[in-house]
Amino acid sequence: MKPPRLQLDSVTIRFGGLTAVSEVSLIVGDRELAGLIGPNGAGKTTLFNLVTAVYQPTEGTIRLGGEPTDRLEPHQLTARGVARTFQNIRLFPSLSVLDNVRVAARLHCPHGLRQSLWRGAAFRAAEAAVEKESLELLNIFDLARYRDEPAKSLPYGNQRRLEIVRALATRPRLLLLDEPAAGMNPTEKVALTQLIREIRDRFQLAVLLVEHDMQLVMDLCERIHVLDHGVKIAEGSPTEIRSNPQVIEAYLGPDHAL
C-alpha cells in the first residue's frame, strides 16, 4: 500500500506550560479533501505550523508520503510539496499580484543569480514560462486582470484567493488552507467551494482545510477531524461528525445536529 500524503503520529507541542496540540494522530490520503475543525484556540493553526515546520513537535512524528519531516526547514518542506495559506493573510504587500505568484513559482524556475545577471536566451525563456504558468493559475481564480496591481490593493476576498494561487504556484501535493472563506460573502463562499474541488481534481492534490463555516466544511470535505483544546476528539465523514455528541457539545452546538 502506498504511504499516505500526510501522517501525524501522536504529535504534541507545548509552549511553556500550554499544550497546544496533544498526541494528535491523523492521516490525509492522496487527493483527499479533509477538514480540520474545532473551537477557537483548539490548536488548528498550530497543527498547520507543525506540518509546515514553522514549529518542531515536542513529541511525535510527521510524515509526508512516508518520509519523516523532522529537521527540515520550512522552505525545504515546500520543495517536498506542502503549501499553505495563512489565517491572517500574509501576501507580499509591496509586490504586484503577478509577482506574488512568480515568487512562489521560483521553486520550479531553474535559474538563479548568475542567469538573472547575464539575461541570456535561456533566462528569458524561463522567465516567460514562469509568467505563463503564473497567469494560468491566476486565471483559474479570475485574478489575472489584476496582475500589475499591488497585492495589498485587492479587496479582502481576492487577497485570500490570491494566497491560494500563490500556494498552488509551488506545485504542492498537499495544500493547507487556514480559514480560506473568512470574510467572504455567501456567493463567494459557494464559488470557493467549487474552486477548491476543481483544483483538487486538476492538480491531483490533497487538501487539508481549517474553516469555521460549517456548511462549507460539510459540503466539501470527505473526512473531518475535530480538535478541542489540542486533543483530537473525533474523526469521520460529515454525517458522522454532525451527529457526534462530543463534537456537538464541544463545538457545533445543538443547531447543527441532524
Binding site: F92, V103, H111, G183
Partner: protein, 317 residues
C-alpha cells in the same frame, strides 16, 4: 532594449570612458571632475546598500566598514606593485585588479557579518553591523603595516570619473537586474514577510547572506575608487558617520527604489558642495536640509505613491 539590458550597461560604460577621456583636453575644471567622481562613488555605495537595507529589508549600519576593507586592500596592492610595474600601459589592468581584490575582500567580510547576523533583525542587526564597522576601524587604527591612525598616503591617482561612473553603472545594472527577475523577487519577499517567504519555498537565509555579500562587494569597489581618488585614506574616514551618510541616501531615495536612491545619492553629494560659500554654517545647513527633507517627504524624496485599485474590504472579526 528591455530584453537586452546588457546593451544599456555597455553603452553607459563606453559613454563614461569617452566623456572621461575627453574632459581634461576640453579644459573642464578639475574641481567639477572631482565632484563627479564623488557622485559616482556615492551612487555605488547607496545603490549597493539599498540591496541590503531597501530591497531585502535588513538594517545594516556597516557599509563604511566594507568600504574600508576595499579601500585598504586595493591601496595596499597598488602601493606595493605600482613601483615595480610602473608602465602606464599596465596601469588600468593593475587598477582593475586591485579594485576587484578590494571588492572580493569586502565580500568576504560581508559573508562574515552576514552569517552570524542572520538570526537578528531590526535594531539588533543594526547594532551588530555597527559594531563590525567599528571593529574594522579599530583594527586598521592599530595595524602599523597600513599606517595605523595616520593611514596610507601617496596612493596613485588612478580613479577618473570614467572609472567611477562605469562602475556606478555596473552596480546599478547588477542590483536592478537581480531584483527584476523571478529569482530576485525573492529579496523583496524576504523584505515583505519572512514567514510567508519561507512557506513559499524561499531560502531566506541564503537570500539575506547573498544581499550582504553583493552589497559588501560593491562597497569594497567604492572604497578602492575612493582611495585612488583622494590618494589618502585613514581609519577615521570610514567611521560610523560615513555609514549613516549612506543610510540617509537610501532612506531619502525611498528604500528599495533604485532610481530614487541614485537621485538621492547625487543630490546629497552635491548639496555640501553647493553650500561651500556659506563656509562655517555649511554642515549645520546640510543637517537642517536633510531633516527638512525627511519631514517633508518621509516616503522618499522622489516617491509619488500610485493610488490605484480598490480599497481593501472589511476585515473579519
Amino acid at each position: 532594449m528591455k530584453r537586452h539590458p546588457q546593451l544599456w550597461l555597455l553603452a553607459a560604460i563606453i559613454l563614461a570612458a569617452v566623456l572621461s577621456a575627453s574632459a581634461r583636453p576640453a579644459g573642464v575644471n578639475p574641481y567639477y571632475l572631482g565632484v563627479a567622481v564623488d557622485v559616482g562613488i556615492n551612487v555605488i555605495l547607496a545603490v549597493s546598500l539599498n540591496l541590503i537595507n531597501g530591497h531585502t529589508g535588513q538594517f545594516s549600519l556597516g557599509h563604511a566598514g566594507f568600504m574600508a576593507v576595499g579601500a585598504y586592500v586595493a591601496s595596499s596592492i597598488t602601493l606595493g606593485l605600482a613601483a615595480r610595474f610602473g608602465g602606464p600601459a599596465l596601469t588600468p589592468l593593475l587598477f582593475a585588479g586591485s579594485l576587484l581584490a578590494g571588492g572580493l575582500a569586502a565580500a568576504l567580510a560581508g559573508l562574515a557579518v552576514g552569517v552570524p547576523s542572520l538570526r537578528l533583525r531590526g535594531d539588533y542587526l543594526a547594532i551588530v553591523t555597527l559594531g563590525f564597522g567599528e571593529i574594522i576601524r579599530v583594527i586598521l587604527q592599530t595595524t602599523d603595516a597600513v599606517g595605523a591612525a595616520s593611514g596610507l598616503k601617496g596612493i596613485p591617482k588612478f580613479t577618473s570619473f570614467g572609472w567611477a561612473w562605469a562602475l556606478a553603472a555596473l552596480t546599478v545594472y547588477v542590483v536592478a537586474c537581480l531584483v527584476n527577475s523571478t529569482y530576485g523577487r525573492g529579496f523583496i519577499a524576504v523584505h515583505d514577510d519572512e514567514v510567508a517567504a519561507r512557506s513559499m519555498g524561499i531560502n531566506t537565509t541564503r537570500y539575506k547572506v547573498t544581499a550582504f555579500v553583493i552589497g559588501a562587494f560593491f562597497a569594497g569597489l567604492a572604497g578602492g575608487l575612493y582611495a585612488h581618488h583622494k590618494q589618502f585614506i585613514s581609519p577615521g574616514g570610514f567611521d560610523f558617520n560615513k555609514s549613516i551618510e549612506i543610510v540617509v541616501m537610501v532612506i531619502l531615495g525611498g528604500m528599495g527604489r533604485t532610481a530614487g536612491v541614485i537621485a538621492a545619492a547625487i543630490v546629497l553629494t552635491l548639496l555640501p558642495e553647493v553650500l561651500r560659500p556659506v563656509a562655517e554654517y555649511r554642515m549645520i545647513l546640510y543637517a537642517l536640509l536633510i531633516l527638512g527633507l525627511m519631514l517633508a517627504r518621509p516616503q522618499g524624496l522622489f516617491t509619488w505613491e500610485r493610488r490605484t485599485g480598490a480599497k481593501p474590504g472589511p476585515q473579519p472579526t
